[in-house]
């Protein structure tokens, strides 16, 4: 941050000619100047107020550093320290702060002031960048005059393959306004390089991803969740399998951010959905050093590794929100991180009773990664509104559907062993007489989302589950 200019001792006033209240108190300032040590900073016209020598603060350096919100502001400074501050014109306050009496005879006793120029929305970010930019600790990258910023970011390897928004000081400072957390606070240690990541680095990457400042708390919570030992984003990044982090948002923040939980929920077109997921991926790439072909060894990957973030449709759901299955109180803003591959649709346009539809789900769920591989992977089942209605009308709650799916997915070992069905892949022959569940208890996560038309649901296959791999991790979103 540029050095904060000290205020002189005595009385200090901030004014602008464009403010009728300032014009009104012009004579009061002239009156005060005769009796007290008075310094006046003027924000728009150095010849104002008339009859009072004023200091030109048109660049707003003093106003910005001293956080002047309104004009006129009258401040008392003693031995270099501000001891009192009043905003607008109020005769009693001004007389108390100045120690003078009989101020502004003939004026109304009270008149509110105007906004300080230093907080005008069109100026505030430029001022923050000019005077406060130095507080940002990241290395500055100065581009050549003819260098295209977007191309320069590609050239340095900081993009995920799509153009990123150039992270200027102004944009990063605006992004930091989206959180109350200080820029130098460490949010997480990001694999694979195990690099500490500050709020500032999150903000830089969030800018690049296309986030708005109000998205910051979600990105911060998602990063915290991703970088836990339980979620194990190191392994998820490094695996040859195709999964990546999937972010499910619950709570009122979904609506505040205008997230899309309806039509095309997993697709393109919503800024919050797309940019929040992208920000997490960019942080892993740029801060963590996790790049495809290097530590990221995925055979195929999936398009969701660019960004995979969506909110649950809680309002339209017959069931409790996903986050409450992981211990969240209903109504809290949360992210749930799930290691998932790309979604695949279940089509069932005929079933109108829950047993039939559950059976449809089960035969599809059995195929996750391989129909002959049980227990190793969890799954997220996204039930669409038209399918959810079938269960709701029959009175099935979420737990009942999960229970029925577990029952339907108890598989005789003889169907799973190596060689069964003429397929070498499978479980060891010794398990032929066992009965094995496709998913471990709790391994079927159910979320409600999608457009209102279409008798479809979707499967998001998981990755190596449990302590050896990745477990879903919930984090509360805080401002």
């Amino acid at each position: 941050m540029s050095e904060r200019p000290a205020l002189p001792n005595g009385l200090v006033a901030f004014v602008k000619r464009d403010c009728p209240t300032c014009v009104l108190v012009g004579p009061v300032l002239a009156q005060l100047a005769k009796h007290a040590e008075l310094t006046v900073y003027t924000q728009d016209d150095p010849s104002f107020p008339e009859g009072v020598p004023a200091i030109d603060d048109r660049d707003l350096n003093v106003s910005w550093h001293h956080k002047i919100d309104a004009v006129p502001t009258l401040v008392r400074v003693e031995e270099g320290h501000e001891t009192e501050r009043v905003l607008g014109w109020h005769r009693g306050d001004w007389e108390r702060v100045s120690g003078a009496s009989g101020l502004g005879e003939g004026l109304p006793a009270f008149r509110p002031g105007c906004g300080s120029r230093s907080v005008e929305p069109t100026l505030a970010l430029d001022l923050a960048a000019r005077f406060g930019g130095a507080a940002l600790q990241s290395r500055r990258v100065e581009l050549g005059e003819d260098e295209d910023a977007i191309e320069a970011l590609f050239a340095r390897g900081w993009s995920d393959g799509l153009p990123v928004v150039p992270p200027t000081e102004r944009r990063v400072l605006a992004m930091l306004n989206g959180t109350t957390r200080p820029p130098d606070e460490v949010v997480a240690v990001v694999p694979p390089d195990l690099a500490p990541c500050s709020v500032e680095k999150v903000a830089i990457n969030a800018v690049m991803a296309g986030c708005k400042p109000e998205h910051m708390p979600v990105v911060l919570a998602a990063l915290e969740a991703a970088c836990t030992d339980e979620f194990n984003i190191h392994g998820l990044l490094a695996t040859t399998m195709g999964a990546g982090p999937v972010i499910v948002v619950n709570g009122p923040i979904r609506k505040r951010l205008g997230m899309n939980s309806g039509k095309n929920v997993f697709g393109q077109g919503n800024r919050a959905n797309s940019s929040i997921g992208r920000a997490l991926a960019l942080i892993v790439r740029n801060v963590g050093g996790g790049r495809p072909g290097e530590v990221d060894r995925a055979t195929f990957g999936n398009p969701g590794k660019l960004s995979f973030c969506f909110p649950e449709d809680e309002e339209g759901s017959p069931w409790t929100p996903l986050a409450t299955d992981f211990g969240a109180e209903a109504g809290r803003d949360t992210v749930l991180l799930f290691p998932g591959e790309g979604p695949r649709t279940i089509v069932d346009q005929i079933s109108r009773d829950p047993e039939s539809l559950a059976r449809s789900f089960a035969v599809n769920l059995r195929t996750v990664h391989h129909p002959k591989l049980p227990l190793a992977f969890d799954v997220m089942l996204a039930v669409g509104p038209e399918h959810a209605r079938v269960f709701a009308e029959a009175g099935w709650d979420k737990a009942q559907l999960q229970q029925r799916l577990h029952e339907l997915l108890l598989i005789p070992g003889r169907e799973l062993v190596r060689g069964a069905d003429g397929i070498a892949e499978g479980i060891p022959e010794g398990l032929a007489d066992a009965t094995l569940p496709k998913f471990k208890p709790g391994g079927i996560l159910i979320v409600h989302c999608g457009g209102g038309a279409g008798l479809f649901s979707a499967i998001i296959g998981g990755w190596v589950n449990g302590e050896t791999g990745s477990q879903p991790v919930l984090r509360e979103i805080r401002s």
């Binding site: 581009l143 910023a149 992270p167 830089i204 190191h234 695996t239 801060v287 050896t468």
Partner: protein, 95 residues
């Protein structure tokens, strides 16, 4: 404004990775303790068992280690234990 647009903030961790020189190659294996690190992938043990036989034929002493899971980096304690107990290490990566 135009000046500010030309200055970007570095999105990386800005870390300078230290480059360490490799240890000199071993002249022979007799009397050398060789660590075999199983990362806990399927059938890594088969590969390491055979390596152990071949190395012992050449006079090496074998110590076996295993990561708790192949999906996470080896714990720091394990890495330090291997470094303090072995003259060489072989890690079985594939399944």
């Amino acid at each position: 404004m135009s000046q500010n647009q030309r200055v970007l903030l570095d999105p990386t961790s800005e870390r300078e990775l230290p480059i360490r020189a490799r240890l000199p190659r071993l002249a022979d294996l007799s009397g050398v303790t060789v660590g075999l690190l199983d990362i806990s992938k399927a059938r890594g043990d088969l590969f390491l068992n055979r390596l152990a036989e071949l190395l012992e034929e050449r006079g090496a002493t074998i110590k076996r280690y295993a990561k708790p899971t192949f999906t996470k980096p080896a714990p720091t304690d394990l890495r330090q234990q291997i470094a303090s107990e072995c003259g060489a290490v072989i890690e079985a990566l594939a399944d």
